[in-house]
């Protein structure tokens, strides 16, 4: 492709047509791969070439404009290059404007961060286009702060929009921020509310990072919004987008606010040389240079063998523990601390004594609040509760499940009940957990068993292992040590754990509405039921549980919260793995067919990626089961 240079007046509309046609046929990569670098070089310093280039793209017919513009934006090595190549195309051409400001930002979300940087940088480089930049920012913020968008759009799209917002913010100059400060503030407040409402931790974090960045921009002095969250690669990447380091400094980069504080703060009192406090690095006394007479030799030490560490004794009897924990004497906090630490082992060592007071202990532990600052108080309390529950499962389970649906408990307490039930169920059903107070693989059992957004990965692993174990037909021989077998203690109590939880979910109380505001707890409840179902394999009640669970799932299958939907799909996985296949096909045929069609729907149309994966998994499981049954001659 070569052009006739010089002052000749030539029409390049033919070339535009060719370019457009090629792009629309999907050959963007090939043609633009050659054209763009060529034009980049040519337009570097030559104005004429720039104008030629602009003319070239302007003459592309509207019906092919989108493909061409898309191609250019994706292929340009930088925003300034894009600016040279496209010029003010977005201002002059309606279609190009639509593609750049609407389609690429709001309707598509598959582009990389670099492409976003190109696009938004391009908009910011010329004053004519900056109005478009502001408009784009407003629209992005509208989407970001709309609660229905947060609830229904996929996480990847939300991440894309957040990135775009941050890049826009980084390009804005002071006077522009001044003019739209109020709107930024209102959108930030609304948006952060919707984001924090979400049950998925990733979305919450996204909301927090973007809100912090907006707050930083509009309040350059004074307190800024600061959330507490765990930093990970995603948040770090997002934050890095706020700082622009263009080759020519059009936009000043954000100073690190901490550093500026330290630099600016005057240190009036402390003189320069003594500024740094010395840390306690002991300077060993020089023994040899001590030439003084050691008059300390006159002082003969007394016998100090009685001087031992003081230990507060914890009570030895369970009833004493109850007294200490419920005692109103605020004086003896040492004893209270020692009791809390010793409670779990006492409960496990004295099962008979515990059974006498099990419900009372469970009540005390459920309401126990931290009196002094003990390390790991939450874990100690939870372990004690699990110990009580496993020692006397039926009455305590009855108590706990009834309390789950009672008035006047905090959400945290209700979720604690669920965690305790799960841990106890695991202990009762699994022989390797017997007697061990420290679970080697489950140091923080509450997090591992009821993870937030990681549930799909864990479940996939578990399901995969289960499938593997079922399909293995060879005997590997005596190389594996057989685990000591015990009767499954969960068998007799699984029903007491499971059915009361499922019973009242649709009955709202004044302070607790599972189907309404408290959908976070509903999500946790659904995951809990999935785990209980999974642990109930080989118990007598498993079929009844399966049926009840299917009904429960059916009622909730269109719930708007994706965390709840993930839980429902995990329930189906557990069901398929735990209930014996014969029983599934015998007792639950119709329900299974309905479920299958629902799963197909979810797999195709659900906005959440994890849900789709889980649905696919479930369909595969169902296929496997059918095949297995067909393979076995009946």
């Amino acid at each position: 492709v070569c052009f006739i240079p010089g002052g000749l007046d030539c029409s390049i509309s033919f070339v535009s047509h060719v370019l457009g046609k090629v792009c629309i046929h999907g050959r963007q990569k090939e043609i633009l791969g050659v054209l763009v670098p060529c034009l980049t070089d040519l337009t570097k310093s030559d104005c004429i070439w720039q104008r030629i280039c602009w003319r070239l793209v302007e003459c592309v017919p509207d019906r092919w404009m989108e493909a061409v513009v898309l191609g250019f934006v994706q292929r340009a090595p930088g925003a300034d290059v894009l600016s040279r190549l496209l010029g003010n195309l977005v201002v002059k051409n309606k279609k190009a404007q639509f593609v750049v400001t609407q389609k690429m930002l709001l309707l598509q979300y598959g582009h990389t961060t670099a492409v976003l940087q190109n696009l938004l940088g391009y908009l910011s480089l010329e004053s004519l286009r900056r109005t478009l930049l502001l408009r784009v920012l407003q629209e992005l913020l509208e989407t970001w702060s709309s609660s229905s968008a947060v609830k229904h759009s996929p996480a990847e799209q939300q991440l894309y929009i957040s990135k775009a917002i941050l890049i826009c913010l980084s390009h804005l100059k002071e006077p522009e921020i001044e003019s739209c400060r109020q709107e930024l503030l209102t959108s930030m407040m609304e948006g952060v509310k919707c984001h924090l409402d979400s049950s998925l931790p990733q979305l919450r974090r996204l909301g927090m990072v973007v809100a912090e960045s907006i707050s930083l921009k509009i309040n350059t002095e004074g307190p800024v919004l600061k959330f507490e969250y765990e930093e990970d690669d995603e948040t770090r990447e997002l934050k890095s987008l706020l700082v622009q380091t263009p080759p020519f400094c059009v936009v000043p980069s954000l100073p690190d606010d901490e550093r500026s504080e330290k630099a600016g703060a005057a240190l009036p009192l402390v003189p320069e040389s003594h500024e740094k406090p010395h840390t306690a690095a002991p300077v060993m006394p020089d023994e040899e240079s001590d030439a003084e007479l050691d008059s300390d030799d006159d002082l003969i030490p007394y016998d100090m063998s009685e001087d031992k560490e003081q230990k507060i004794k914890a009570p030895v009897y369970i009833r004493d523990c109850i007294e200490v924990l419920t005692g109103s004497r605020s004086e003896d906090v040492d004893k209270w601390e020692a009791t809390v630490k010793a409670l779990e082992s006492l409960v496990r060592k004295n099962p008979a004594a515990t059974r006498e007071v099990s419900v009372e202990l469970a009540k005390i532990l459920l309401h126990l609040e931290e009196k002094t600052c003990i390390e790991g108080f939450v874990e100690l309390r939870q372990r004690a509760q699990v110990a009580v529950l496993t020692t006397d499962p039926i009455p305590v389970a009855k108590y706990l499940t009834s309390q789950f649906y009672s008035l006047n408990y905090s959400l945290r307490q209700r979720m604690d009940i669920l965690d305790v039930l799960v841990l106890a169920a695991q202990e009762l059903s699994c022989p390797s957990f017997h007697g061990k107070t420290r679970h080697s693989g489950a140091q923080k059992p509450c997090i591992q068993l009821l993870p937030g957004s990681d549930s799909s990965k864990d479940w996939r692993r578990i399901v995969d292992e289960r499938i593997k174990s079922k399909t293995r037909r060879f005997d590997v021989g005596q190389s594996r040590v057989e685990l000591a077998s015990r009767p499954n203690e969960f068998n007799s109590v699984a029903g007491y754990f499971f059915f009361p939880l499922i019973q009242h979910f649709d009955r709202p109380l004044t302070t607790f509405d599972l189907l309404g505001e408290d959908h976070l707890v509903l999500g946790r409840l659904v995951h809990t039921l999935a785990i209980l179902m999974y642990l109930a394999v080989n118990t007598m009640a498993v079929t009844a549980m399966g049926k009840a669970l299917l009904e429960f799932i059916w009622a909730l299958r269109f719930h708007t919260d994706s965390y709840v939907r993930q839980g429902l799909l995990s329930c189906i996985s557990s069901l398929l793995l735990s209930v014996p296949t014969e029983r599934i096909l015998a007792d639950m045929t119709e329900e299974m067919l309905e479920t299958q069609s629902w799963l197909g729907d979810v797999m195709e149309k659900d906005p959440d990626g994890d849900c789709r994966r889980l649905a696919l998994q479930n369909l595969l499981l169902m296929e496997n089961l059918k095949k297995k049954l067909e393979a076995v001659p009946s």
């Binding site: 009192l269 402390v270 003594h274 010395h278 306690a280 690095a281 002991p282 002082l299 007394y302």
Partner: protein, 328 residues
Amino acid sequence: MALPPPDPQFVLRGTSAAVHTLHFSCGGPESDIPLLFSGSENGFIHVWNLKTRRVDTALDGHGRKSVYCVETMGGKDRLLSQGRDQRICLWDLAEGRTSVTDSVFTEHVGFCRCSLLKVAQGRWLMAMAARGLEEVQILELPSKTSVCTLKPEAGAKLGMPMCLKLWQLNCGSQPVLLAGYEDGSVVLWNVSMGRALSQLICHQEPVMSLDFDSEKAKGISGSSEKVLSIWSLNEQQNLQVYKTHELVNAGISDVTIRPDRKILATAGWDHRIRIFGWKKLKPLAVLDYHTATVHCVSFSDHSNPQQRLLAAGSKDQRISVWSIYAQT
């Protein structure tokens, strides 16, 4: 074969409340009665006659709020007491009087004991924690004029001052203040210029008490953790850690060096009083008498060394008085 630790020489009972502070006044002529002043949680200051071992007078000047510091100002006739009613009272006790002659309203709601230093005949400097969170104010007594306010730099985050010690190397030199703070650091302040000379992080927990030996330029501080920290002051007025000593049980309420600088005593939260040699911090004795936290220890100022005593006040409402290492 080490001897078992001695028993207290006698025990004073009768305060009916936890004892927070003690101060001896036995330095007068032989004819004078040796006295021990004690401040209790019920707001009373008891004046104990050490000959009869009974309470001579009980002073009520702090509105039944706990008294946590008593000091004499040049003799037993003038007493200074500090209480939780945010006041420092000056008492006139001569000839049987028991009246408060003056008081300073400190506006300090913490537990930081004030520190007195005699700079000239009839003139005293007093360092006390002031109204601002991290500030220490130096007042001149009896005129009650403020000499300066020592404020750490912004952002230093030292927390409240926990304990103070004013001292001067000899009569003519500049008074300096050692202050221990909530964040575990000890700061050396120059009082006349009002600025900090040196800061040393001695502990990870608040500094509960400190004492300083101006002759050897060495000091010791105790905290709520298990470590006693000994630090020294070099010629450039810099604090450096000299040594640390690990204790068996955590928590020290008070630490005090005997006036002859041979031994020191610590009051522990584990109900025990520990005696160490000051030179090398050799553990000498563990006195186990009290049944609750020991709040304060104090050495007497007897002119006859043989009569020297150590007193300890505890939460169990007893004051134990010991004669230990009096022969040296």
